[in-house]
């Protein structure tokens, strides 16, 4: 009698362990569901799909996604439902647009990789002005762009530092970590700047004053960490470009789970470039090699 009770209790414990293990390992990964892809429509024989999209900006007020369609030298916008809205090529004057933001007043700022410039486009007056940036006399190679608290944050591809300029493009603060390889990507948040180091994927959290708050070494194998995002609950999402996966870590660097993978079919990635949460809690992945932005939600 005692023996059978012991066996039953052991069985229950084992099942509970198994279920809790399954939940902790896989819950995060299976919870993400594909919602839609942002893709330029093919209407006629002259229509072109997006080619090598590289950057994404989300306008929470107008409820629009803007995508830098790099190889087609144009910007493409979509509604928050994923429907195509518009295309814009500034009269065929854009040269490899890589990233962008839209200011409240209808002014677009575009990183033009082909010109190595930060280009201001006033949509109302239809004026376009390319600005070559410098920092203490050194040439800057703008790569990623963000706006926060009326200032521009620009990732300089050359130095790997995040450079903060006022909205009049006056130098303000340089965010860097001495001895590192520089950042491959960054995000600006209320609690500071989050950057991911090139090649090794180490995540640095710096205060708005530039002081290092935390250094996080993700404990999990990644082949080519390239972009990062900080989730609403503080989890760190890292794109592994070559593996086509999104890897999730907590702020102690502990691996939580991984999802997606390399490929062309829906929900698979080929040469992903950027990762971003939209204001509606959805995770957007700029899937450059597949010419689309994949949008997932829980």
């Amino acid at each position: 009698m005692k023996g059978s009770l012991l066996i039953r209790t052991t069985r229950v414990i084992l099942w509970a362990l198994l279920i809790s293990l399954a939940l902790t390992v896989d819950a995060g990964a299976t919870a993400w569901q594909w919602q839609f892809s942002l893709k330029a429509p093919i209407i006629n024989k002259d229509s072109k799909p997006m080619l090598m999209p590289a950057g994404l900006f989300i306008d929470p007020v107008r409820k629009l996604y803007y995508v830098a369609d790099t190889e087609n030298n144009r910007l493409v916008s979509f509604t928050d439902k994923g429907e195509f809205k518009n295309m814009f090529d500034a009269g065929k004057r854009l040269n490899s647009p890589y990233d962008l933001i839209r200011e409240k007043g209808g002014v677009l700022w575009v990183v033009e990789a082909g010109r190595n410039s930060l280009t201001r486009i006033d949509l109302k007056s239809r004026k376009m002005e390319s600005k070559s940036l410098e920092w203490n006399g050194d040439i800057v190679f703008p790569h990623r762009l963000a706006e926060y608290d009326n200032a521009f944050y620009i990732l300089d591809k050359k130095s790997g530092d995040v450079l903060c300029y006022s909205n009049k493009l006056k130098q303000k603060t340089r965010y860097m970590v001495k001895g590192s390889r520089g950042f491959a990507d960054f995000k600006v948040r209320k609690d500071g700047i989050w950057g991911i180091e090139r090649l090794n994927g180490t995540v640095y959290h710096l205060g708005h004053n530039g002081k290092l708050i935390n250094k996080i070494i993700p404990k999990g194998e990644m082949s080519f960490p390239y972009a990062l995002e900080i989730g609403p609950a503080g989890l760190i999402y890292i794109v592994d470009r070559h593996a086509g996966t999104i890897n999730v870590f907590d702020q102690a660097g502990r691996f939580k789970y991984r999802f997606l993978g390399a490929g062309q079919v829906r929900g698979r990635l080929y040469y992903p470039e950027e990762l971003m949460f939209d204001p509606w809690g959805r995770l957007c992945v700029v899937d450059s090699g597949n010419g689309r932005v994949e949008v997932f939600s829980r």
Binding site: K45, M52, G114, N116, D138, K158, G182
Partner: protein, 394 residues
């Protein structure tokens, strides 16, 4: 008491059996196989003990030479060289392929370690002849003596080129700090890690093994670039190389990847043995940052390219407006070597859209250019799995 007696008898019997069987093997095998080929110099222990059957089956075997197992299977049974590995980053190709006999003689040898030649260098020449055949006016003494293993590890290593340790630690084993300081008097900086940026560890036509091709500013004097206070940056390189290089950097995908100076990641600012002042062979330059790509290729059953093509053949190494810094789109690059490209039955090109993505269909829609485990470097099995991704009713 009875137990002790039984143990002694069994041990004695086993000893007698092993001695007689070894002796029998020796006698029987050597009745056909000339004894002189198995004696003199350094003899492999099983051979010396006449235990031919430890490796060979006397009757039938699946393996060549009537071997009991594959070559590496047999060798690793006794020689636990895998303990050297400990997760090493690099594995010498013959070790990886289990081809121990490329370097070692299984029976006897004149040299240590049962190497096939008297000196390690002569063994290395068997494969690395092209790289090592160069004749120098001045040669590094270990290279001249053929002692490659003074610097290189023959099985596993954590350092590029299978070096035993990273320069300058490796160099310091023979060249003490004081001697290095004496040799670099008046230099703007104390010599650091970069011994190999100026010196060729095998040999050179210049004294002190300074590499043969010198960067013009270095030739003219250190103060052309160095002021002894601030590091030499990418911008300083671009002051001279603006016309030839800057346009490659005004691209969506480029190699501006070092906080101080991206150029010197690949090029030596001082001396090289190549006109383009690269720090070494193309693959050797790319490998440290792209180790996962190299490993994927090396681990693939069907690697691509198979011949001696270099990274530069497909990639624009400074920058391009294509994914992965390719020299063109996924058709143009392939067509450089594959003449049949675009002339076969499956349609490709701008007007043909991949149903999975809506992207123009190119070679890389189906093939993975560094190699896969499927024939023709296909991304999936070409018999069905790959095709049904698009052709659902197939």
């Amino acid at each position: 008491m009875r137990h002790i007696m039984v143990t002694i008898i069994l041990t004695f019997a086993a000893l007698v059996f092993s001695m007689t069987s070894a002796s029998a093997a020796r006698t029987v095998c050597f009745s056909c196989h000339a004894r002189k080929n198995f004696s003199g110099g350094v003899v492999h222990k099983p051979v010396a003990r006449g235990k031919c059957t430890l490796c060979h089956s006397p009757h039938v075997a699946k393996n060549k030479g009537l071997l009991q197992k594959s070559v590496s299977g047999l060798c690793l049974g006794c020689h636990d060289i895998e303990k050297e590995e400990k997760g090493a980053l690099l594995i010498h190709k013959p070790v990886k392929n289990g081809n121990c006999l490329a370097c070692h003689n299984p029976h006897k040898s004149k040299g240590r370690g049962l190497l096939r030649e008297d000196r390690p260098g002569q063994v290395c020449y068997r494969c690395h002849e092209a790289e090592l055949a160069a004749k120098f006016k001045y040669s590094h003494s270990p290279f001249k003596a053929g002692n490659c293993d003074a610097c290189h590890s023959p099985h596993y290593a954590d350092h590029f080129l299978l070096l035993k340790s990273e320069p300058p630690e490796l160099c310091r084993q023979c060249h003490p700090d004081a001697a290095i300081a004496r040799g670099h008097k008046g230099f703007p900086r104390k010599p650091g890690k970069g011994c190999l940026t100026c010196h060729n560890p095998h040999g050179s036509n210049n004294k002190n093994l300074i590499r043969n091709v010198l960067h013009q500013p270095y030739k003219e004097g250190c103060d052309n670039c160095h002021d002894g206070k601030v590091p030499v940056t990418t911008d300083m390189c671009l002051e001279c190389h603006e016309d030839d290089i800057q346009k490659d950097l005004f691209t969506s995908h480029n190699h501006l990847v070092d906080p101080v100076n991206a150029c010197v990641k690949c090029h030596s600012p001082h001396a090289s043995d190549r006109k383009d002042l690269l720090r070494g062979r193309q693959e050797r330059v790319c490998r440290p940052c792209h180790i996962d790509t190299f490993k994927r290729k090396e681990d693939a059953l069907h690697p691509h390219p198979k011949d001696k093509a270099t990274c530069k053949d497909c990639h624009a190494v400074h920058g391009s407006n294509q994914i992965a810094m390719l020299k063109g789109d996924g058709i143009k690059v392939c067509a450089n070597c594959h003449e049949t490209q675009g002339k076969f039955t499956h349609p490709v090109g701008d007007k043909v859209h991949d149903p999975r993505t809506g992207q123009p269909l190119t070679c890389v829609s189906c093939h993975y250019p560094h190699g896969t485990n499927f024939e023709f470097n296909l991304k999936l099995n070409g018999a069905r799995d790959l095709c049904i991704q698009c052709h659902r009713s197939y």
